[in-house]
Symmetry: C2
């Protein structure tokens, strides 16, 4: 099949990315497999300097710009902004990030530490429009996550690594936010391992992308999820088509499942995941029968967790979390 | 200097170890550096199948035995036992582990899952003596952690990797339990990077090794620490000499500092460390002036945390933890 991103562009992106983001660990734990009822490989993207996968795409994009801009502007719930800020600052480029004012304070501080100016827009207002206007007014290069193929190509390097590290897989579960991650990974998987199913994961409380995929056009819906990395208001049209081209199925996860998955990862894998980062695990946890005996991989996309959610997940980790089958709680 | 373990034996051990334990990530986070006041590289040994560094030594030992035993016996608070159980089971060797009955239940379950028979001895009784007697009675090969140079050589591969990944360091902080870890890492460091200080870290509530090092002979002291990986009752004489040969200094950490360090790692590095695993970070956290502006490394030795301690650390992570200087708590 023709994939939205071609293999050569993903391989090319790899050469452009700061190696600090590459070759992240693939973690397998028997206790996780037992509790999820299938063999699960976790691609851990939480240990790099920005503690999320976003650095791959932002590096690939910034390194591929033909003329270096003096100033870039973008919008972010925090992780993409960290990637942009880091990639810009190390190249001597000014960065301005627009975020909603209910942002995770840790992500806000991290973007600022990496050199970005962050402008907070009241939640509910259109911060993308504000960012676009500001970019025009300031003569800055406007970056929209999900709208640059270089970003998806950068994210696609995760797919390359998963196949190399894990071998043949029955399925890969990939979180859908703006769509760049699953477009990149899905393109690599479909091109190189066509028997592997690509399953998108969305938050039930952020239904815009799922609805948009169903209707094949942008549908807006206000997200109300703790998974800020998947909290899309209105998907980009080009992104909807690209995602549709690579996914075989889609699973929606509820908020409670996200926290249970965070607890499972804390307890059985020694990993802190933010809610979006735990979404693939949450999808398996609540749909055990669908994956029984299969070999799958999913991505722990980020670890920038609000402290109060971390505490909640750790409190839950005192009990065994359970999936779709009744189990005896130890 | 002549080191207790020679470089060639550490390099040789590397070839014997299941690669799943090798080349663990070295993590650096600016927020950790800011909060600790120095540049800190974290060698993360929590992501392998037994979630601790012990697999390196147990693999090196089991792979180097000239005649394969039918049955091995050892003692463990849980992590070494997991390493022995895994290395034995995959070689078709029976394993019996003696542990105190106040063992972390997660570690008990993990040893059993890996194929070990675990015998629990009432806390306070001499479970080493019980294990030795049982080994004789059963005709089994008795393994004592800290007493086989192959185990220290296996642990020394961590030192090789740290120097390769981190470059020149002012100091490496290494937890002292039975002594094999610091003997192995310290040997590599002293041989290859003599300007790097090797600093041992012990738990104040487990003073046997510190007292033994001071007197250069085994001194017993009942450990009362949450850091079960450092809870030694009576060190082995040979181990005391080996540790003394490689350390430049020793830092004792209090229980409260261990939990603060666990909280810092959860919050700023997305890592779950067990108390022993966080001990090097705890030592820096409470002795900031000693390390100010230096470049150091320490090992996150394990992530098999009791769920109640994980919850306590996560609750603390809601506040910023602080070191030896008064800071404004956010």
């Amino acid at each position: 099949m023709t994939t939205p991103i071609i293999e050569a562009d993903i391989a090319g992106a790899r050469a452009l990315i700061d190696p600090v983001f590459l070759d992240s660990p693939l973690v397998q734990q028997e206790t996780i497999d037992e509790q999820l009822g299938c063999k699960v490989a976790l691609k851990v993207e939480t240990l790099n300097p920005i503690r999320s996968f976003k650095g791959r795409g932002t590096e690939a994009l910034m390194a591929s710009l033909h003329s270096k801009p003096a100033h870039v502007v973008t919008t972010s719930s925090g992780n993409f902004g960290q990637g942009v800020a880091r990639a810009a600052t190390r190249r001597g480029i000014r960065s301005t990030i627009f975020s909603a004012d209910d942002i995770n304070p840790g992500k806000l501080a991290a973007m600022q530490r990496l050199g970005a100016e962050v402008r907070l827009v009241p939640v509910g207002e259109d911060f993308k429009a504000a960012a676009r206007q500001a970019a025009v007014a300031m003569g800055a290069f406007y970056i929209e996550d999900g709208d640059h193929p270089e970003i998806a190509a950068g994210a696609g390097t995760i797919g390359m690594e998963i196949i190399r590290q894990a071998g043949v897989l029955d399925a890969v579960l990939v979180q859908i936010g703006d769509g760049a991650l699953i477009t990149g990974i899905g393109s690599w998987i479909k091109a190189t391992s066509p028997g592997t199913r690509v399953i998108g994961v969305t938050a039930k409380s952020a239904p815009a992308m799922r609805k948009s995929l169903a209707q094949r056009k942008p549908v807006s819906a206000t997200p109300r999820t703790i998974a800020d990395g998947m909290a899309i208001d209105t998907p980009i049209a080009s992104s909807i088509n690209a995602v549709a081209a690579v996914i075989d199925d889609i699973i929606e996860v509820e908020e409670d499942a996200l926290v249970d998955a965070m607890a499972l990862l804390l307890r059985e894998a020694s990993l802190v995941a933010e809610p979006s980062g735990a979404a693939g695990v949450a999808a398996i946890l609540r749909n055990g029968e669908m994956f029984r005996t299969l070999k799958v991989a999913t991505i722990i996309t980020g670890g920038n967790t609000r402290p109060e959610l971390l505490a909640e997940a750790a409190a839950r980790a005192k009990k065994r979390v359970h999936g779709d089958k009744p189990e005896i709680v130890a």
